[in-house]
Every structure is written in C-alpha cells, then in structure tokens.
C-alpha cells in the first residue's frame, strides 16, 4: 500500500517536472524566435561600407601591427577622407590598395576581377640576384625533373637542385629518387632563389631529409581575439626526420630577396639542420601565415594572420640573413657565370 502510494507520488512529481519542462521549452522557442539570432555586423555594399569592412577585417585579424609600429586608427582617419560614394570602382581600388600598402606586407592582397593590389617592395627595391638564362646554362638540357624540381650533377661532382616553388606537393618517393641520384655527389646545392612560397608542409617535407633527429626550428602563434595584442602562447615548431633517404653530406642553400613565405620558412628550417650553409641575399620574409576574407562587394582580401618566429623567438617577417652574403655581379653575368652558384661551389670545394 505504502509502495503504491510512493509510486503514485513519484509519478505525479515526474509528470509535474515534464509539464514544467514543456512550458519552459515553449517559452524558449518563443524567445528564440524573437531575439537569439547569432549574426555578424554587416557593412553596407557602398564605397564607404566596403572601406569600413576592409579596415575592420584587418583591424581584427592582421597580426603585425605592433611589430611594424602601425597606428591603424590613424591610417583609418587618413584614408576615410578619400572615400566617397561618387568615386569609380577603380578609384576605390586604388585608395584601398594604398591603404593596404601601409602594412608593408607581401601577404596582404586585394583581389578584384580587374587587378590585384600588392606590396612587393621587399624584392622590387633590391637587386634580383637571379637570372633564369644563367640557371639554364648550369642545368644544360639533360637535367631531370621530379615534383616540379629541376636537378642535375655539376662537373665537379656537386649535386644541384633547383626548387622554384612550394606550391606543388613534394612526394616522398620523388625525394628518395632525387637523393639516390645525388648519392655519389660530395655535396648538394639547393637553389630556392625566386621561390615565392606555397604550402608549409611541402617546405617541411624537403627540409626533413636533412636532419636525423627532431629539431626545434621555431615558434608560431595565432590570434585569440580582435585586439592587436590578443595572441596565443608561442607554440613550438619542430622538424621531424623524414622517412626515407636522408642527406648526410654538406648542403648549401641559395637565397635572394624573392624567397618568401613557405620558402622563407624552409631557410629557417635548414639553418637549424647540420652541415647546412646559406649563401646569397637576405630572404624576402613573409612570416605571417595568410588567411582570406572578403568585402561586401565580393572583393577578396588576403592578410597575415599567424606570426612565425625562428628558434630564438625572433620574427622572420623581415627576412633571414644568409651566412655568406653574395650578390650576382655584372662581370660574372657577362661571362655566363652565376656568382652565387660559383661561390657555393668554391665553398664546397674548399672543404
């Protein structure tokens, strides 16, 4: 009898709770439809609206304001005056491009159907230290190609690998074949001049063949909020030894001002590996992993979002200085000689 009474009481309580929950859920549904929408601030698709959107995207996501000592509010004040709704699309683009060039960053671009805004002074204002026709002379015509890389063996038994981009995937099998081909060589020259970057994983894949142990190669951060100083802790970047054939002899990496982004990272990794020397000009930098976004009018924007540092926690955005600073001379060019390659060869042959 007592048990039945208790059962009935529990049942009544359960029913009350469920009915109360139903009412609460009903009330929530009503409230939800009224004011629970998660939305983003939408800028209007006008000349001024697009300017505001561009400025805000960079204000919240760009990662080098502090390191470059840029007063972004002052930039806004200066450029806002130049926007009005009567200006043409091309004028709007020009003013936006000028505003973006204040960031002095090769990873900052504005893409439209008629033009791409860019800042390339980091290589345009310096000697190129690279000649494609000279490279052809060194490679001759019987060079090999694998994974988009050209390679050959010079007469003095030095291997030469020309890697012009990290855009394309580098296969482990291709690397095995390349390094096996270089097996009789006494040293290897890796020419990454004019390599504008690509995927970091491709740069790592190649660099991993030059270490036998896991190395600390740098640090990386990301933004955790909209503030200019909202960054995560520095996360360690390590380079693990590659699976397959690994190079044990000397390596010389050739650089110039057009070595940028993932290629800049490659130089950073290689400087941590044993038996590696860097020769050429300072690299272009580009140490902010870029993200993409867009404006209300559909123009696409790219910007540096995640800063990367070397193993001493120094920013590599402004480039990496090689151990041997060498430039291409006009005399050598006239004689059909690449001063930087020749310097690397003499360095190897002197060892």
């Amino acid at each position: 009898m007592l048990y039945a009474l208790r059962y009935r009481t529990y049942k009544m309580k359960l029913l009350s709770v469920l009915k109360l929950s139903t009412i609460c859920l009903g009330v929530f549904i009503a409230l939800f439809t009224l004011n629970s929408c998660v939305t983003n601030d939408e800028f209007e698709d006008s000349k001024r609206g697009n300017f505001e959107a561009l400025w805000t995207i960079l204000d919240e996501h760009y990662c080098f304001f502090e390191q470059k000592n840029i007063d972004w509010n002052e930039v806004k004040e200066r450029y806002a005056k130049q926007f009005d709704d009567d200006m043409s699309e091309k004028q709007q683009f020009e003013v936006m491009a000028n505003m973006l060039s204040e960031l002095k960053d090769g990873h900052v671009n504005l893409y439209t159907s008629f033009n791409m805004a860019r800042y390339w002074s980091w290589h345009e204002n310096y000697p190129q230290n690279y000649s494609d026709s000279l490279i052809r002379k060194y490679l001759k015509t019987d060079y090999l190609i694998a994974s988009g890389m050209d390679y050959t063996i010079f007469d003095d038994n030095i291997g030469y690998l020309h890697c012009s981009s990290f855009q394309r995937g580098i296969g482990a099998g291709n690397l095995d074949d390349i390094l096996f081909y270089f097996q009789p060589c006494k040293a290897l020259i890796i020419d990454i001049r004019n390599n504008g970057g690509g995927a970091l994983t491709n740069a790592e894949e190649l660099a991993a063949r030059f270490t036998n142990k896991e190395l600390l190669v740098g640090y990386m951060q990301h933004k955790t909020g909209k503030g200019h100083n909202d960054f995560s802790e520095m996360q360690v970047q390590t380079l693990k030894p590659g699976k397959g054939i690994r190079w044990q002899k000397p390596v010389v990496v050739l650089t110039n001002r057009s070595v940028y982004s993932a290629a800049n990272e490659f130089v950073k990794y290689m400087q941590c590996c044993p038996n590696v020397t860097t020769v050429g000009d300072r690299t272009g930098g580009g140490a902010g992993l870029p993200f993409s976004s867009e404006l209300p009018n559909g123009w696409s924007i790219r910007f540096s979002a995640c800063p990367m540092y070397d193993k001493n926690k120094q920013l590599t955005e402004f480039g990496i200085v090689p151990e041997h600073k060498v430039g291409l001379t006009a005399d050598d060019f006239q004689r059909g000689k690449d001063t930087i390659i020749e310097f690397a060869r003499s360095l190897i042959n002197a060892q």
Partner: protein
C-alpha cells in the same frame, strides 16, 4: 478416465505449441523517410564575415518506437548538402552535415475530441552532428569542420483525426540543445596548426543554450491514400554558436515530403 486425461494433455500440449509459434511483442514502429528542399543562410566568420545564402537538399529518416507504455523512443538520421553564394554573387560555399538524434519521450496526456485525439509528449536525448563548410576561394582557411554533441530536450504534439472517412495526422516537434561539447578552431588559428602541428588551443568547447542557441522544429501533415501514408511538412533547423570569438549559423527552412510506414514486430519461433 485414463483416455480423457491423455486427450486433455495432448490438447494442452498442442495449444501450447501453437501459442509459441508466434510472439506478438506489442511494439509499434513508425518510420518516415523524407526528402526536403529549401533555403539556407550560412555564416561562419572563420571563413568569411559575409552571410552566404542558397539552396539545401535534405534526407531525413524519422523513427518512433512505441511499446504500449507511455514511453516511446525516437531515432532520427538526417543529412544535408547546401550550395550557397555570397552577397556579391561571385563566390560559393558548399556545406554538408549528418545529424543523429536519440530521444526518449513520455506521453504527458491524451485528449479525445469529437474528430480525433491529441497527444502531447515530452522528453529528451542526445543530438550529434558532423559537418563541413567549404569556401571555394579562400587560401589557408578554405574549410571548416563541425562536430558537436548535445543533450537536448524535445517536445512533440500529435493530433490524429478522421475526415471524409480517411485518417489524417498533424505532428509538431521541437528540440532545443541545452548543453553540449563542440569542436571549433580558435579565432585566428589555422588548420595547419591544428592538424599538421597538433597545437590544441581550447578547441573542444563546452556549449550551453547561451552561447549556442539552436533549435529544430518540424510540422508535418500525414494523409493516407489507398494503403500509402504520405507526409508533407515544414522543417526549420536553426543551428547557431558563438564560441572562441567566432560566429556560426546555419538557418534552414525546408519543405519536406516522404512516406510513412507503420508496422509491428511479430517474432516467429521455429
């Protein structure tokens, strides 16, 4: 006397054998297989600050298992594909998701009217989601992966009635996730850091109704033609979250159509 005892025994045995041939379990399973088409509005500030709008196609399998008591179990599988465009109509996003729900519902009441009967149920269960959104133009942040698991209360009201000597049914069901866990990259964290480097930064987030106010609701109408029950309805699916400094929403409004099958299980013993 001896003969009549044997006759009774044989009859009893034969009756028992006959009764054990089949076992009616009393379980009734109602399954609806539906497809839907409608509009979708997507926002993922990791990919773009802009809302993308477009078309969504959805498949839904909705099963209710009743066992003769006031408790019933509900299993939902649904998947969708969405194709959306930005405001300027010069870029696209492709999204897809799978959702699984397992709910236990209790019949709160049943009220008979002159035309039919109304049932109200309430309960709750788990709501699991897996999905992706791919932006066709972005570079290092081209896609976003979604994974979340929620505890979600559910209410359902069902009105069965007859008109022109035919059975009809109107059902409304709503579900609101209360608490859960959700995967999300940090505000400016790249997938390269997450998956190539394995750098964890608050990527599994505890969600509540406050930071992830989401809701699913469905209103359906069943009518029987000959021996086939057809189901038409509206599905409103509003999934939202505001975590790690990022904002997400997927608002779907769909017209659904499908077939309902109702059956019971009879166990046959060899």
């Amino acid at each position: 006397m001896k003969h009549s005892f044997l006759t009774i025994l044989l009859c009893a045995t034969s009756l028992c054998t006959q009764a054990q041939d089949t076992l009616r379990t009393g379980k009734i399973i109602t399954n609806a297989q539906m497809v839907g088409i409608g509009t979708v509005n997507q926002l993922d500030t990791y990919l773009s600050p802009e809302e993308y709008k477009g078309l969504e196609l959805r498949y839904l399998s909705h099963t209710i298992r009743e066992n003769g008591t006031k408790f019933s179990r509900e299993l939902v599988h649904q998947s969708h594909l969405a194709y959306t465009k930005n405001r300027a109509d010069n870029n696209q996003e492709i999204g897809g998701a799978y959702n699984f729900q397992y709910n236990v519902l209790y019949e709160l009441g049943k009220w008979d009217t002159s035309q039919g009967s109304l049932k109200v149920k309430a309960g709750g269960g788990i709501d699991a989601n897996l999905g992706f959104l791919y932006n066709l133009r972005n570079g290092n942040n081209p896609a976003q992966g979604y994974a979340n698991l929620n505890l979600a209360p559910t209410i359902a009201a069902n009105y069965e009635f007859r008109l022109w000597n035919r059975p009809f049914q109107i059902t409304y069901e709503a579900q609101v996730p209360l608490v859960g866990v959700m995967f999300s990259p940090q505000f400016g964290q790249s997938y390269y850091e997450l998956f190539a480097k394995g750098n964890y930064d608050h990527n599994i987030v505890l969600t509540t109704i406050g930071c992830a106010p989401s809701m699913r609701q469905m209103l359906t109408f069943d009518c029987t033609l000959h021996h086939t029950t057809l189901r038409f309805g509206y599905l409103g699916d509003y999934q939202q979250a505001k975590i790690n400094g990022l904002k997400y929403h997927t608002w779907s409004n769909l017209f659904m159509i499908g077939i309902v099958r109702k059956f019971s299980i009879t166990k046959i013993i060899p």
